[in-house]
């Protein structure tokens, strides 16, 4: 059975730990706690992960002390949070509380075991289907479980904390275990991806959207870094013009019209590194394809259009999934090459979306999201020629973008780069310039994707992000 994880933004986790820190100081005689709202991510109808969408911090009188220093949430607090769940269409509630004397290990008390079934019964009486997660916090450990009914509970495996790094904390009540000794294959990489980070990568699924030049290289780098499973998403087949940059693509693939994603599965799995590749042949704009991302822990975007980039940004915030967007571009004029740019943007809660970084333009996004017929009418008017230029692309440059993206993932799992990560990491080889850009140049402090996203952490409880197959098909480009 796949493990059931809990996702949470780093800012919420840090605030929660700070809120509860008094439990582990001084006389250590009082429990602290708070209640949060839950979103969920499902794969084939089954819950794969729960997401802490928001923590509704207790107000005066919301937390009541009971004999033996145990904590009880007031009925007013429970009602307020449960009403918010119902109003927002979320999956349920999550309660956090401390056990002040749990220095090393922590576990639910008999009192917790008595109370949780009563609570879920009450909640489900009011709103059938409500889920209840409960997490008990020790000083350096935490234990979590999910109640689907008064008699049906499941243990939570890991708490995934997403922010400027990506942390996996066990929810089994014990401090993190020492990582297993990695295979000799990865010996030389241990300096940048130590055994702990490697053990995480070896159990995770990474989605790579776009299987052309940069995407194929990202897949190769992931497999050689020890990633267990890669979902490769691309709707296209291999064409002659792709052979200069797609790994493993051959002339025969062109002749037989093989999908790019399937070519990568053949190539990567032939390496014998134990990495499974799942090819998904379809457009990421299509909602059914977009939903397949629910199976992924991290998403790489290797696409050359703004519309999929923005949808992936939206997905990253709604599902609290780290999104690494990479790209390469050769700029030229009549005089010759003026720039060879590569770029990496890391998008996650607390960071900026690609619209705020200035990467996605309102004009290009508009053009790309017209139907094919309307786009043609727009092209006929003129004024759109710059949006139609075919970008030159060479593997050498794609490699630099892929490398930046992969090093960023390694850093997220085991930080080694200067922090905080820049908004954009940009490189121009013509001027030998690697530039960390700290500012989001089109920042909007009321951005509904990255600043005040009302659906952050909703996961599948939020609005559908992709398009119906019919609309996605109507947006198809001529060269697709």
């Amino acid at each position: 059975m796949p493990e059931l994880n809990l996702r949470m933004a780093a800012t919420d986790w840090e605030r929660l730990r700070k809120h509860c820190a008094h439990s582990f100081r001084g006389r250590r005689d009082r429990e602290y706690g708070a209640i949060g709202l839950l979103g969920k991510r499902c794969v084939e109808g089954a819950i794969r992960e729960l997401i802490v969408s928001e923590i509704m911090w207790p107000e005066d009188g919301d937390v009541l002390a009971k004999p033996h220093h145990a904590l009880t949430f007031s009925s007013r607090y429970m009602r307020r949070t449960h009403m918010a769940v119902r109003k927002k269409g979320l999956a349920g509630l999550i309660t956090f509380h401390t056990h002040p004397r749990a220095d090393r290990e922590v576990s639910f008390s008999f009192y917790d075991d008595d109370q949780d079934p009563l609570l879920i019964e009450n909640l489900q009486d009011l709103w059938p289907g409500t889920l209840l997660c409960s997490v008990v916090l020790g000083k350096s450990s935490q234990q979590g479980r999910l109640w689907m009914s008064p008699r049906g509970q499941a243990a939570l495996a890991s708490l995934v904390i997403i922010g400027n790094s990506l942390r996996y904390l066990p929810l089994d009540g014990r401090p993190p275990k020492p990582a297993p000794t990695p295979s000799e294959i990865f010996d030389r990489a241990l300096a940048v991806t130590g055994s702990g980070a490697l053990a995480i990568l070896a159990r995770r699924t990474v989605a790579v959207v776009g299987a052309s030049g940069t995407g194929s290289l990202i897949c190769e780098l992931l497999a050689r870094a020890g990633c267990r499973r890669i979902l490769v998403i691309d709707h296209d087949i291999v064409k002659l013009a792709n052979l200069n940059r797609i790994l493993y693509a051959t002339k025969q693939d062109v002749d037989l019209r093989h999908p790019k994603a399937e070519v990568l599965k053949r190539g990567i799995e032939s390496l014998g590194l134990g990495c499974e590749v799942v090819p998904i042949v379809g457009s990421i704009l299509d909602d059914k394809v977009m939903l397949r991302l629910n199976d992924a822990d991290v998403v790489f975007g290797c696409v050359d259009k703004d519309y999929p980039r923005m949808l992936l940004c939206k997905y990253a915030f709604q599902h609290l999934v780290p999104y690494i967007d990479v790209g390469a571009e050769i700029g030229g004029d009549q005089e010759g090459i003026v720039s060879t740019d590569t770029r990496m943007n890391y998008v996650a809660p607390g960071r900026w979306c690609l619209r705020c970084t200035g990467l996605v333009s309102a004009r290009r996004l508009a053009f790309e999201s017209l139907t094919t017929a309307e786009r043609k009418r727009k092209i006929a008017l003129g004024y759109s020629d710059d949006l139609l230029l075919k970008q030159p692309a060479v593997m050498d440059l794609n490699m630099r973008a892929a490398s930046s993206g992969m090093m960023t993932l390694r850093h997220l799992l085991q930080p080694f780069l200067l922090e905080p990560l820049p908004v954009t990491l940009a490189e121009n080889l013509v001027t030998y310039n690697l530039k960390p850009i700290a500012l989001a140049r089109s920042r909007n402090d009321t951005c509904d994707i990255c600043r005040v996203n009302t659906q952050q952490g909703f996961g599948d409880c939020g609005e559908s992000i992709g398009l119906s197959a019919e609309v996605a098909a109507a947006l198809k480009w001529e060269d697709d």
Binding site: M310, L311, A362, L365, A366, S369, T371, K378
Partner: protein, 136 residues
């Protein structure tokens, strides 16, 4: 489709007595705006209907650009050289694309512009500015 915001803007304008409705051709949404005032002459009537294409990603922050004019029309008893695009049939009427764009120095700005301000931009075409453009 991500046009909930566009629909909300259109509903709000309709409540303010603007003649506007959301229509589609296939899956392409348009805002059909009526009662656009024109200076007559040189235009052959005082009110026109226009059609504004709404990009499907409008909610994600897209620009708006240009519009279509309901046919037939006459300008100075002839044609206007900026009404030069293709013809589309929507709601059983023919509409011709008008080349009426934002200048490079004054683009559509996401922070302040929306369907309402784009209609104001389109109105300019039927006033002195549009007529001047036709002569140059």
């Amino acid at each position: 489709m991500q046009i909930g915001k566009a629909k909300a803007e259109i509903d709000r304008l309709a409540l303010l007595d603007v003649s506007i409705e959301l229509v589609t051709q296939g899956v392409q949404p348009f805002a059909l705006v009526g009662g656009i005032e024109a200076t007559s002459p040189p235009w052959d009537r005082k009110l026109y209907d226009i059609l504004i294409a709404i990009p499907i990603a409008y909610d994600l922050g897209t620009a708006l650009d240009g519009f279509y004019l309901a046919l037939p029309y006459k300008f100075q008893n002839g044609e206007h050289n900026r009404i030069n695009g293709q013809v589309v049939s929507v709601q059983n009427r023919d509409w011709k694309a008008v080349s009426w764009h934002y200048p490079d120095g004054k683009p559509f700005r996401l922070e302040v512009d929306n369907i309402e301000s784009h209609i104001i931009h389109c109105r300019g075409f039927f006033l002195e500015r549009g007529a001047v453009n036709a002569r140059t």
